[in-house]
C-alpha cells in the first residue's frame, strides 16, 4: 500500500507552519523528515496519522495502515512489559507478541514493570508496541531520542526487518538514526509563509 501525501499544509495552534508538502512512501522504503526543531515535524506526522485534520492537501493510502508512536510512548508504568504489549496487540486485533519481544531483545525483561525500565528499554518497548500492531506503515516521532549507540543499532535492525517484511517507515528526527539507506526529506523549504490563521480570516 503506497502512502502518498499531496500538497499538505498543517497548522499548529491555528498558525500555518508547513505547506505544499508532497511525498510518496512505498512498501519497503523508509523516509526521514529532517529539519530544525519547531519546523513542524511532529504536527506533520500527526496530520498524516489522522490525529489532526490538515488545513489543505490530501493523505491517501493511510486508512487503517498506520501505527503511530509519539514522544511519550503511551506505556503504563504499572503494567508489565507483556501486559503492555498484550493490551496493544488485542486493541489491534492480534495476540502474538513473541516476535516483537525477540526483535527488541526484551525477552528477559518480560515480567518487569514498565515503570522500572530504563529510558532506552522503554523506547525499545515503545517500538515493540509498533511491531505488535501489525500495521504496515510505521510513523515514528524522534524514535532514537535518549538511546545509546547499541540501542540505535538495534532500532535500525528492527526497522530494516520491518522494511524487508514489506512495511514502510516515516520518521522525524534531528539526530542520527543509524539508517543510512533511508531517503531524507528536509522540511525547511516547505516552511509556510506567514499568513493569517484560517480561523481568523473572517476577522481580518
Amino acid at each position: 500500500m503506497v502512502l502518498s501525501v499531496r500538497d499538505l499544509a498543517v497548522t499548529r495552534g491555528g498558525l500555518a507552519i508547513l505547506e505544499g508538502v508532497s511525498f510518496d512512501l512505498s512498501p519497503g522504503e523508509a523516509l526521514v523528515l529532517r529539519g530544525p526543531n519547531g519546523v513542524g515535524k511532529t504536527t506533520l506526522l500527526r496530520s498524516v496519522a489522522g490525529l489532526q485534520p490538515p488545513e489543505t492537501g490530501t493523505v491517501t493510502g493511510a486508512e487503517d495502515q498506520i501505527a503511530y508512536a509519539a514522544h511519550s510512548d503511551g506505556l503504563k508504568a504499572m503494567l508489565s512489559v507483556t501486559e503492555n504489549l498484550k493490551f496493544w496487540a488485542s486493541v489491534f486485533g492480534l495476540s502474538d507478541i513473541e516476535p516483537a519481544l525477540v526483535a527488541f531483545d526484551l525477552t528477559d525483561l518480560r515480567n518487569r514493570m514498565a515503570g522500572t525500565l530504563s529510558a532506552g528499554q522503554k523506547r525499545r518497548l515503545g517500538l515493540a508496541r509498533l511491531m505488535v500492531t501489525g500495521r504496515p506503515i510505521w510513523i515514528l516521532d524522534e524514535p532514537t531520542v535518549s538511546l545509546d549507540v547499541t540501542s540505535v543499532a538495534l532500532f535500525a535492525d528492527a526497522v530494516r526487518m520491518h522494511l524487508k517484511g514489506g512495511g514502510s517507515a516515516l520518521m522525524a528526527t534531528h539526530i542520527d538514526l543509524g539508517l543510512t539507506e533511508a531517503r531524507v526529506l528536509d522540511l525547511t523549504p516547505f516552511k509556510a509563509a506567514p499568513r493569517t490563521r484560517q480561523m481568523d480570516e473572517a476577522f481580518l
Partner: protein
C-alpha cells in the same frame, strides 16, 4: 442577499452599528412606558395587593431567561453546522445577559412569593428550575473562559449547550415531580379566561417588548465587542508570526 450574509463579521458590525441606536431608543421607550404604566397606573390585585406590580419585571425576565438560552442553542447549532464565527460569538455574548435575566427572575420571584409563602425561598418548582438554568449559564460561561483556542472553545461550548438543554428540560420535569409546586398558574396562556385581565395586560406587553429589545441591543453590542476582541487576537497572532 441571504441571511447568511450577516455571518461575515465585518458586515455584521456595519449593519448593527446602523441599527443599534434605534434599538436602544426603542428599548428605552418600551421599558419606560411599560414600567411606569404598570407601576403607577394599574390598580392593586384584590388578592395579592400591590405585589402584583412585580409581574412587570418577573414575567419578562423569566421569559428572556429561557429565550436567551434558546437563542444560544440555535446559535450553537448554526456554529456546528455552518461554522459561522458570528453565531458562536453571539452565543458567547448572550450568556451573561441570559444569566442576569435569570437572576432577576429568581430575585423578583422570591420577593413576590415572600408575602404569600411566608419565606424568602420555598423551593417552588418553577423558581428552582430557574436556579438550575442559572447553574447552566455559569458552566457555559466558565467553559468559554477556560479554553484559549477560539475555535475549540466554540466547538466545546456548543456541544455543552446542546447537552445542557436536554438536561435542563429533564430537570424542569424532575423538579416538578419532586415538589408539588406553589407557583401561580400561567400568567400568559392562550386560553383567554385563565389570562390576567386586560388592565394588567397592555403594560405587561410593553415590558416584555422592552426586555426583548434590551436583550437584542445588549447581544448586538456584546457580539460586536467579541468580534473586535477576536480581531485583536488575530492581528496580534499575525504580528507575532511575521
Amino acid at each position: 442577499m441571504s441571511l447568511w450574509e450577516y455571518a461575515n463579521p465585518v458586515k455584521f458590525i456595519r449593519t448593527t452599528d446602523k441599527v443599534l441606536p434605534w434599538v436602544w431608543a426603542l428599548t428605552g421607550i418600551c421599558l419606560v412606558t411599560g414600567l411606569v404604566w404598570g407601576f403607577f397606573f394599574t390598580p392593586d390585585d384584590f388578592r395579592q395587593g400591590s405585589t402584583v406590580k412585580i409581574i412587570y419585571i418577573h414575567v419578562p425576565s423569566a421569559l428572556m431567561a429561557i429565550n436567551a438560552w434558546l437563542m444560544m442553542l440555535v446559535a450553537s447549532l448554526i456554529w456546528i453546522v455552518r461554522r459561522h464565527h458570528v453565531s458562536a460569538l453571539a452565543a458567547r455574548a448572550a450568556a451573561p445577559v441570559g444569566a442576569v435575566m435569570t437572576l432577576i427572575a429568581l430575585a423578583t420571584g422570591a420577593f413576590w412569593g415572600q408575602p404569600m409563602w411566608g419565606t424568602w425561598w420555598a423551593w417552588d418548582p418553577r423558581l428552582t428550575s430557574f436556579l438550575i438554568l442559572f447553574l447552566f449559564y455559569l458552566g457555559y460561561m466558565a467553559l468559554w473562559e477556560a479554553i484559549e483556542n477560539d475555535d475549540t472553545a466554540a466547538d466545546l461550548t456548543s456541544i455543552l449547550c446542546l447537552v445542557g438543554s436536554v438536561f435542563a428540560i429533564l430537570s424542569r420535569y424532575a423538579v416538578n415531580f419532586w415538589n408539588q409546586g406553589l407557583h401561580q398558574g400561567a400568567t400568559l396562556s392562550l386560553d383567554k379566561e385563565e389570562n390576567i385581565s386586560d388592565v394588567f395586560w397592555f403594560p405587561l406587553l410593553f415590558c416584555i417588548a422592552g426586555f426583548v429589545l434590551l436583550f437584542v441591543a445588549l447581544v448586538f453590542l456584546r457580539t460586536q465587542t467579541e468580534i473586535r476582541a477576536r480581531r485583536t487576537r488575530a492581528l496580534l497572532a499575525r504580528e507575532g508570526q511575521a
